[in-house]
Amino acid sequence: MVKRSLSSHPQAAGNQTYKNISAEAIDLVEVISNAHHPKAGAVVLFSGEVRNHSAGREVSYLDYEAYEALADKMIDEIVETAKTKFDLHHAVCVHRTGKVAVCETAIVVVTCSSHRAEAYAANRYIIDRVKHEAPIWKREYFTDGSVEWAHNCSCHNHEQH
């Protein structure tokens, strides 16, 4: 998952960079331990996880597909825009491909800023744009053996929750 490390010191974070698209499991503890930044008083981590139900049906697991080159480029742009717009010290977004089991992380977004308002707002900005815009798709595998491509993002149904 790690593209390159510019520092071996975990407290000196903000230096570690990640691939935006990864076929490997996302290690949340590893991601958050590399997110500390001396200028950041707020670090927000959002983990988008696979739930065991979808539209009243029991989900076994999800399988993610991406147009990797374009998704990688778009997530780069979204994260860089968020950094400028919200004055972040550090931001990371990694989206999984392949099979992701219930309770596992499909996407992680970490945002670090001097104060919490910006870190929360930026995190929401990144996850919303990636979900709506990045060329990534999920296929739902249900426990009854059926398989379906998920429809577009349904967050308009849950916006107030």
Binding site: G48, Y64, E65, A66, Y67, A69, L70, A71, K73, H95, A106, I107, I127, V130, K131, H132, E133, A134, P135, I136, W137, K138, R139, W149, A150, H151, N152, C153
Partner: protein, 81 residues
Amino acid sequence: MEKVEVQLFAALTDHFGRNVAVELSGDQKIAAVIDALEKQNPKAVGLLKDCRFAVNENFVDLNYELRDGEKIFIIPPSSGG
């Protein structure tokens, strides 16, 4: 006859497979490729109408004129996250 390489994703692969070559006799616009795919598989018409298109990792519209050897990527509505 010009042959255009097309790559598809997600639900579109159920209709066309991952890659398909489309032969165009007239203009080389993206719209002509989509017309050809719709004729090839009318069941995919609804989905194709909701898609975006990319060439060389940039989004393009239906009026984009394909140049020699350019491959088109057809992108259904996102469902990531």
